[in-house]
């Protein structure tokens, strides 16, 4: 094991700096410093503008704990994030596998690009279109009734499933792509070796392929779970009256009542919870790998 230590990474921050600095300086100027200002605001009673009175307070954070509304919504948002992530794994991973291991040649590159392309359209226009599909008398309803011999009413619009569908649609490409990147790097001979050792397809999948593609799965899951927990647009538009989530409450604080300090405090609580979940999940996932 001692020999292993020497392999791979080199030590020291200094040689890494020239590569790291540009990106992190950029992030510092454009994200970290501004967000620090927001952290500052989150401890204020009011915004320091136009002669308004303000003082330091912990009240904005205390609000989260004093009203069960916020924790209920945060829990609902976490559940939403988890469900969307799971659906993305279920739908995206097999697609990534087929792309990386079944399809060969140029069609693979083309499909890879086709998977990303919907991303380049406007998010709001996409959601509008989903409304077309999901509502009663919409595309899905009409199509199913045209095929099925009996009459059914499909009205998924303005419901929890509609939110899930919209979010999965928006985020599944992340999963396909990150998994594709790691799956495509797995040498086919490893799979053959697994098969030659008498493992069934399923065993090879569980014991060879999935562990080796774990970095992609983890990256994809993080890129999906994290923004979904804070999302507000899809829940609001597709969820109708059931579309209130933690993200929409934060949005309200900023947009409807101009209470930035409370909105900022709620966001940082969200950030802390998400980071804790990632930190707890990472070792478990890594062990699975």
């Amino acid at each position: 094991m001692a020999d292993q230590l020497a392999i791979g990474s080199r030590r020291g921050l200094r040689p890494a700096l020239p590569l790291l600095l540009p990106a992190y300086l950029w992030l510092t100027v454009a994200i970290f410093l501004p967000l620090s200002a927001m952290v500052f605001f989150s401890f204020m009673t009011d915004l320091p503008l136009a002669g308004k009175e303000w003082a330091f307070t912990l009240g904005n954070y205390a609000a989260f704990f004093s009203q069960s509304l916020y924790s209920t919504l945060l829990f609902a948002s976490l559940r939403l994030g988890l469900e969307v992530t799971l659906w993305c794994v279920v739908i995206g991973y097999p697609a990534a596998y087929v792309l990386a291991k079944v399809l060969k040649g140029r069609s693979r590159e083309a499909i890879f690009l086709l998977v990303i392309l919907p991303f380049w359209s406007n998010g709001l226009v996409r959601i509008f279109s989903w409304a077309m599909v999901l509502r009663e008398g919409g595309i899905l309803d009409t199509a199913l009734n045209a095929v099925l011999p009996f009459k059914i009413n499909i009205d998924l619009m303005y419901s929890y499933p509609a939110v899930i569908i919209g979010l999965v649609h928006s985020y599944v490409p992340y999963m396909v792509l990150t998994c594709y990147l790691t799956l495509q790097a797995i040498d086919d001979s490893l799979i053959e070796a697994g098969r030659s050792l008498g493992a069934s397809r399923r065993q090879v999948l569980w014991r060879v392929i999935i562990p080796l593609s774990m970095p992609g799965l983890i990256a994809g899951a993080a890129l999906i779970f994290v923004p979904v927990v804070g999302s507000f647009m899809e829940p609001r538009i597709l969820g109708g009256r059931t579309g209130t989530f933690y993200g929409t409450v934060i949005e309200d604080q900023f947009v409807a009542v101009f209470n930035w300090p409370l909105g900022a405090a709620l966001s940082f609580i969200l950030l802390a919870v998400v980071l804790i979940i990632l930190a707890l999940a990472a070792p478990v996932l890594r062990k699975a790998a």
Partner: protein, 354 residues
């Protein structure tokens, strides 16, 4: 669509931060601050005004009252005319953002309905701080396909027959005020919040979704997804006449929320004469008729302007009827504390509906 409010907020923020970039202003220019697409920026109107007076109009827009206040607060001296909802006039005056208007310079001022011109919201210490322009209602609108004859009561929204086909605006203040009307209270002095809450709680299961822009409403009707919901009077008229949608406005017997928009002159205006000329032009019957005909507009505060409309015009026949005038309640200023309280209630209702 959620977006208008979001957009409003964004603009507000952007403006407040960049407040100090002042443009140099020529004396003959009139800087007008108003909603986008709200009469004052109609190209034909601007052209007519410029031809008649020689002043040049420079339009700027806001997307929410908060943004409007921020803009005049952070750009002293930039604007000459600002359109302020009467409910916010008080706040603007208290913040020393607007100045008294010499109404003797406005030839059309005398024709303004007395109740509007004399509104305590626009007059302070005997001085006029706002010239009433147009007014409208937040009432009910129905999908004509779903009703043989229009309902008359707000209770229609609670009718189980419309379960899942009711729509209301995603706005805490408006929702609470509607709850007040439904529970027989004064929207500006809600005594029994529990009754409001109970009313709204029982309404929630009826609701399909929340709307936030005209476009939402019109789409929902166009795809026949709703029967009834809250709507703005001007928008309902536009949906019917302009977009040919099966929409008609209902002013329930219990009442409706009315709002009044007025023009003010900010403190520090460099062209008060131009401002007065512009405001006078805005309340002129000729402009109003053209606005209604070409675009569709709310009800003018100028009685002569309304009388200049055809007999059967919606704004004259329906909105002008004394019966309606009795039922409506004009919206008074809402304090920040009330706003927060309403939002908390509204959020609680939305969470519990899940």
């Amino acid at each position: 669509m959620r977006m208008p409010r979001l957009t409003a907020f964004l603009t507000a923020t952007a403006v407040f931060v960049s407040a100090f970039t002042l443009a140099a202003q020529a004396a003959e220019e009139v800087h007008v601050l108003n909603w986008k697409g709200y009469g004052a920026d109609e190209p034909w109107a601007v052209a007519n005004f410029e031809k008649a007076t020689g002043f040049k109009v420079v339009n700027d827009f806001f997307n929410s009252e908060q943004e409007m206040l921020t803009k005049i607060r952070t750009n002293p001296g930039l604007y000459d005319v600002v359109m302020i909802n009467a409910a916010f006039n008080d706040q603007a005056m208290a913040g020393k953002l607007i100045q008294p208007i010499d109404v003797s310079k406005l030839s059309n001022y005398a024709d303004i309905a007395k109740d509007k011109a004399g509104s305590p919201m626009l007059n302070h210490d005997g001085k006029v701080y706002g010239v009433p322009w147009v007014w409208g209602l937040t009432a009910l609108a129905i999908n004509e396909k779903s009703f043989d004859k229009p309902p008359t009561s707000i209770a229609e929204m609670w009718d189980p027959a419309h379960k899942g086909r009711v729509i209301i605006r995603d706005d805490a203040v408006e929702a609470v005020q509607f709850g007040a009307i439904a529970s027989g209270q004064n929207i500006n002095d809600i005594k029994d919040m529990d009754a409001v809450k109970a009313k709204l709680t029982s309404l929630m299961p009826q609701i399909k979704t929340f709307w936030s822009s005209e476009n939402d409403w019109n789409q929902m009707v166009a795809s026949n997804q709703i029967d009834i919901g809250t709507y703005w009077s001007g928008s309902a008229d536009r949906a019917k006449t302009h977009f040919k949608l099966p929409v008609s406005l209902v002013i329930p017997q219990e009442g409706a929320v009315a709002w009044l928009d007025a023009f003010s002159i900010p403190v520090g205006s460099k062209n008060v004469a131009g401002a007065e000329a512009f405001i006078n032009y805005m309340i002129d019957p000729k402009f109003y008729v053209e606005w209604v005909t070409k675009v569709g507009a709310p009800v003018s505060a100028n009685t002569k302007a309304v009388d200049a409309l055809p007999e059967d015009a919606f704004n004259r026949k329906v909105m002008g009827s004394p019966d309606v005038a009795k039922r409506i309640q004009f919206q008074a200023p809402v304090t920040d504390e009330q706003r927060e309280k309403y939002l908390a209630l509204w959020q609680e209702l939305k969470v519990n509906v899940k």
